[in-house]
């Protein structure tokens, strides 16, 4: 007896009972159901919600694997135990040691994110008596990629419960949410536990622990730390990472957002498979570049000088804003979320442009939130329906005018 028929049997035995959605979901996660509709002509499309979700997950896997190696690499590098890697294929980067320590810190994040999130989804499906929705599949993968490596697991669990319930279920579940659930989770963590979400200690595995041990009186240890590049610039500092390090992603940062190279590959995959909207990705990049150019012009005009606290980030060449921080990750995987983004094509351009524009604005003007991308996307999530409304109304008006001209 194959696994499929066994699952089918279990499912049938629970039919009509309270727990039915849970078993249905288990079955359909793995196999196509046996049931077919009997009447009428049908159009068959393979790109259902599950396929869509899986495509995004495939696009995220390279970022996750890179994140695992990077976590180990940053850990050992900060302790001075290995040489800095030389480029993407650097010898000290793709090592078993790096993978081992990275896997031990990051896979638990993935497990907690999926475990808690799917549990909440199952509970809601059982209470409401509908099928388990697949919406959490991508969220569950995104969440571990946008948090610092050492975030305590219970905090992540609390945030996931909050994000899924308040960000999604209260609005009616998958497809009805106003805000991106993964970013809701990050926002919750950011405002609830700021000490674990920003600063120079959280981006390298073991740094906080090290600090506490030193505070407790162990003097044979050196403190380790790793400021993100944005954090350094925000304090008018000079970073010692070069542009290629930033592009390949061998820098401290949230788990999955550092490698711009892999994000671009993921973006190409999403555009090629027509899952992600290239309009949103492109317009976000344009928006970020536009804001960067404006800031550069302000510095060039001498309005902001080196004594200003904004100087460090304003003086960054405009194109560099794309490779520091997580604007690209946000543009490719977050802003393109089809539920919370604008729906009309013209709306997508406006929506994306404003995300990029506002992200860089927050980044520069608020040193407390150097990573403004998630705030910008959440803000534009809220405005997306309004943008769509005006785009549609504008279209209606245009057509009405055309009609009048013809009639006259």
């Amino acid at each position: 007896m194959s696994l499929k028929s066994k699952l089918h049997e279990i499912k049938e035995s629970f039919k009509g009972k309270k727990m039915a959605p849970a078993f249905n979901a288990l079955h359909t996660f793995l196999y196509t159901p046996n049931e077919v509709t009997h009447n009428g002509t049908h159009i068959k499309a393979v790109d259902d919600l599950k396929r869509t979700m899986n495509t995004v997950i495939i696009a995220l896997v390279p970022c996750l694997i890179f994140g695992i190696f990077n976590a180990g690499y940053q850990h050992y590098l900060a302790q001075g135990m290995i040489e800095a890697a030389d480029g993407f294929l650097g010898a000290s980067f793709w090592t078993w040691d790096n993978f081992e320590i990275g896997a031990w810190t990051i896979l638990p994040l993935v497990v907690v994110s999926y475990g808690v999130g799917l549990l909440v989804e199952f509970i809601f499906a059982v209470i409401k008596g509908h099928e388990v929705e697949e919406g959490y599949l991508v969220t569950g993968m995104l969440v571990p990629l946008i948090v610092p490596v050492d975030i305590p697991l219970w905090m992540l669990a609390v945030a996931v419960v909050f994000g899924v319930v308040i960000g999604k279920e209260v609005f009616g579940g998958t497809g009805m949410n106003i805000l991106n659930p993964a970013l809701t989770i990050r926002a919750f963590l950011f405002f609830a536990y700021p000490t674990w979400m920003s600063g120079d200690k959280v981006w390298v595995h073991g740094a906080v622990e090290r600090d506490q041990m030193i505070a407790a009186g162990q003097t044979n240890l050196d403190a380790i730390s790793g400021e993100t590049i944005l954090g350094t610039y925000a304090q008018n500092g000079v970073t010692n990472y070069d542009y290629w390090d930033m592009f390949w992603g061998i820098i401290p940062g949230s788990v999955g957002e550092t490698s711009k190279f892999l994000i671009i590959i993921g973006a190409a995959f999403l555009i090629f498979s027509k899952i992600g909207s290239w309009r949103i990705m492109l317009s976000t990049v344009i928006g970020a570049l536009a804001m960067g150019l404006i800031f550069n012009a302000v510095v060039d005009a001498g309005i902001i000088t080196e004594s200003s606290k904004f100087y460090g980030l304003m003086d960054v060449p405009f194109w560099q804003h794309l490779i520091i921080g997580s604007i690209l990750f946000g543009a490719v995987y977050m802003a393109t979320d089809p539920v919370s983004a604008a729906q009309t094509n013209k709306g997508k351009w406006i929506y994306g442009f404003l995300i990029g524009f506002i992200s860089i604005m927050i980044r520069v003007f608020n040193p407390a939130y150097p990573e403004g991308v998630f705030l910008a996307i959440l803000l534009m999530n809220v405005f997306a329906p309004t943008i769509d409304h005006y785009v549609v109304q504008g279209n209606v008006k245009k057509r009405m005018k055309r009609l009048k001209v013809k009639a006259a």
Binding site: P152, W154, M155, V158, I166, V170, F188, F191, A192, Y193, P194, T195, W196
Partner: protein, 214 residues
């Protein structure tokens, strides 16, 4: 014999749950969000509003036949304002520190929609005794939510209740903090108060399906 007739006790009980001014009528939200980060402030606010509404409703009810209807709002404002000034002065005299925490919000009791709402809807048309019960009932319903929200926000946000730490010392890492627990800073921000109020509304409507509007 019961202390109150059935009709009168309904005046007191209804606003506590099924016709709660905050969660059902969605009035007085501003102060519920602003001052509930600490339980103590919530309690003081509750007591103040109990006083203002109880006395205010009686005063308006007594004057209801002599107030010209064209200027009734002004008259109501004068009554509330006088009562609020009394509360403010008492707080400043006996609980100065607390009055600084509550700062402008005591003054803003004047604009609390619940109070004006009850004056308009009830005290202008009913006798002083029933108006008193109605005022106390509504203020208690308001205060109940305030204290509930204040309880959760202070407990989860600062780990204290009425200023006494109940979960251990976050700096010396005792109690819950020893095993890695940390206070939720989001709880101290107003948006979380709105979410907590929302959750209370959710629980309330899940328990009593009659409250769900279509």
């Amino acid at each position: 014999m019961a202390l109150l007739s059935k009709k009168d006790s309904k005046l007191l009980k209804d606003p506590l749950l099924d016709n709660n001014p905050i969660t059902i009528q969605v009035l007085g939200i501003c102060s519920a969000l602003a001052i509930t980060a600490e339980l103590k402030a919530s309690i003081v606010m509750t007591v103040s509003v109990l006083f203002v509404m109880g006395v205010g409703n009686v005063v308006i009810s007594l004057m209801r036949n002599i107030i010209p209807s064209k200027i009734r709002i002004i008259v109501q404002l004068v009554v509330v304002a006088s009562l609020v000034i009394i509360v403010d002065q008492v707080l400043k005299a006996f609980a100065y520190e607390l009055s600084k925490t509550l700062s402008v919000f005591v003054g803003l009791i004047i604009t609390n929609c619940i109070i004006m709402g009850r004056f308009e809807a009830f005290a202008l048309g009913n006798g002083p005794y029933r108006s008193f019960l109605d005022g106390i009932g509504n203020a208690a319903g308001y205060g109940f939510i305030l204290i509930l929200v204040g309880f959760f926000r202070e407990l989860l946000g600062s780990g204290t209740l009425l200023g006494i730490s109940v979960l251990g010392d976050p700096i010396a890492k005792t109690g819950l903090y020893a095993i890695g627990y940390e206070n939720n800073g989001f709880m101290l921000l107003s948006p979380m108060a709105l979410i907590v109020v929302g959750l209370i509304i959710w629980v309330q409507r899940a328990r009593n399906k009659d409250l769900i509007e279509d």
